[in-house]
């Protein structure tokens, strides 16, 4: 336990030695862990397939960008905006959840997919007649986190240690992430978590047992969405620039893949899935090209192609050997075994 803690605290400095880019990559990976844990509530716990989850990330990011950038010349502090972003995303979650309460499986997936696209298209087009989102150009020069005069984007030297911007964000993300993990774990083993499980297993039986399935499903949507909103706000602050392009369908699919690969419903599995799927492509990016250059003298295959190839291969292998995920939840494992029988 202490070893892990020391490793997590020391990690950014080790990464910084390899290049600040790696700290940034790690931060992005942590955002994806954050997102996956949010989606895990909806998909893993309550069993509601959501293919438009990235919309909440977008909502959170845009709320932050609009309230802390020269775009509207608003510069609210981050500790006010993040909760607002969570709240607005939560509202969108209910907005999506309410009309889809009666849907399950494929049908729900299609509606959520549409929802995700609608949000992105709105962001893309809300530049006229009143310029709200600045359309496809996106919003730039977004404020970093700031506490008084302490800015999270500047590099500072404390005790001979260089704290670069990304390193500071790393620690914020780490703290938030631990909180989110704790929330996930505690919810899972509670009255609420059991109600979600009941809804996932058999909705009619759940209702007959006195569970208000409407409320419990909306709760899952709302909670998942607000996590997405907070992650979005962090994303906007860290990047300093956002545009609708960051919130395309592929991103939703990516987050869902992280949840599924790691093991739906198992918090640690989801963390592992998100970390793997965030890092491996980056590793490839940094190894595939130099490797080809040194072997053949030129780059033959684009790293992006290799990445997709491996991604596909990984999914096929997973379905064959670990259909319930790398670290499956006990319940999912039983479920899949049962259906195979």
């Amino acid at each position: 336990m202490t070893l892990i803690a020391i490793a997590l605290i020391g990690l950014p400095f080790a990464l910084a030695a390899a290049g600040t880019a790696w700290v940034r990559i790690t931060n992005l990976a942590m955002l994806f862990v954050f997102l996956s844990l949010g989606l895990n509530i909806v998909v893993g716990f309550a069993g509601l397939l959501d293919l438009g989850y990235i919309a909440f990330y977008a909502v959170g990011a845009y709320v932050y960008a609009l309230l802390a950038s020269p775009h509207f010349n608003l510069h609210l502090p981050f500790w006010i905006i993040l909760p607002i972003g969570a709240l607005v995303a939560c509202l969108f979650g209910v907005l999506l959840g309410a009309p889809t309460l009666k849907l399950r499986g494929d049908y729900l997936a299609i509606v959520t997919l549409g929802f995700g696209e609608i949000v992105r298209i709105f962001l893309n087009n809300l530049s006229q007649p009143v310029n709200i989102t600045n359309g496809p150009q996106g919003i730039s020069r977004i404020d970093p986190f700031r506490l008084g005069t302490f800015s999270f984007s500047r590099t500072e030297t404390i005790f001979d240690l260089q704290f670069s911007g990304p390193i500071k964000y790393y620690y914020i993300l780490l703290v938030l992430l631990l909180l989110v993990i704790a929330v996930n774990l505690r919810l899972q083993h509670s009255r609420i978590g059991r109600a979600w499980e009941a809804v996932r297993e058999d909705e009619i039986a759940a209702r007959a047992m006195g569970i208000n399935t409407t409320r419990i499903k909306l709760l899952a949507f709302a909670m998942g969405a607000s996590f997405g909103g907070v992650a979005g706000g962090m994303f906007a602050a860290i990047q300093g620039f956002i545009s609708p392009e960051s919130f395309v369908l592929v991103e939703s699919v990516m987050v869902l893949s992280m949840v599924v690969l790691g093991g739906m419903g198992n918090v640690w599995g989801v963390v592992l899935g998100a970390v793997l799927l965030s890092f491996v492509p980056e590793l490839l990016r940094y190894t595939v090209e130099p490797l080809q250059k040194s072997l053949f003298g030129k780059s033959i295959v684009d790293p992006e192609v290799i990445r997709m190839l491996l991604f596909g291969l990984a999914l096929v292998l997973m379905m064959l050997y670990r259909p319930a995920g790398l670290l499956p939840s006990a319940v999912r494992k039983r479920e899949l075994k049962g259906s195979a029988k």
Binding site: L187, R194, G210, I211, R332
Partner: protein, 279 residues
Amino acid sequence: MSARQEQGPGAPSSGDAAGGGVLLECARLDKRYGGVLALAEIEFSIHRREIYGLIGPNGAGKTTLFNALTGIYPAEAGGFRFDGNSLSGLAPDQIAARGIARTFQNIRLFGNLSALDNVMIGRHVRTRTGVFGAVLRTRAALEEEAAIEKRALELLRYVGIAARANEVARQLPYGDQRRLEIARALATEPKLLALDEPAAGMNATETAELKQLLLRIRADGITILLIEHDMKLVMGLCDRVLVLDYGRKIAEGAPREVQRNPRVIEAYLGGAIAEAPAA
């Protein structure tokens, strides 16, 4: 908690006070599926602490009546009064909260969860921990969680499957799954327990044990509405019986009377019984 009984499902207080009053009243109930009248003008009432049987040939509308009662498929006309209040327009979870719990003909357990989890879910409607309590692990939440688990274990013991608490519901033997469904229903603290063919698929020994269990549940103050095809069980257990055929009530009364009712015999054995050649 009460000294009166240690592990019983806990009799609702109103049951004792009102003695033999009416618990459930069904008035002119109609239920349609498209053009088919599945239930027509059904009327009956169940007294407190009664074991009330609901019988009839396949397709007579017994399960339809259960679904109407528990709000899963509400009726078009007429309705139920339960414990003095109308159930019209209530959702299934609200009806469960009022004190009606049911089991299902084709067992609907939360199959991938443990037996214990199944019963703990039954406690949902009588407990209140929300998101904040669960996340912050407030004292109230922790205490409630412990109470939920304790109660669930008691109920598993009560129906006789305590040893299987941690086994996956789906993998339990058939008879135990039926018992588990009863335990889960009891966890909601019902005043009326509606059982849809609890003895289906059970052997003679299991059925006899089930009978003892149901008698014990009644003795603990819970009224039972029972759909059952095992006539021996119905006749030996029920105080009164309602017979349905093609969605209509054809007889009601003590099991012995009903058994001799020519309309009932006709419904069960077919109108042409006299001419039918002995097989």
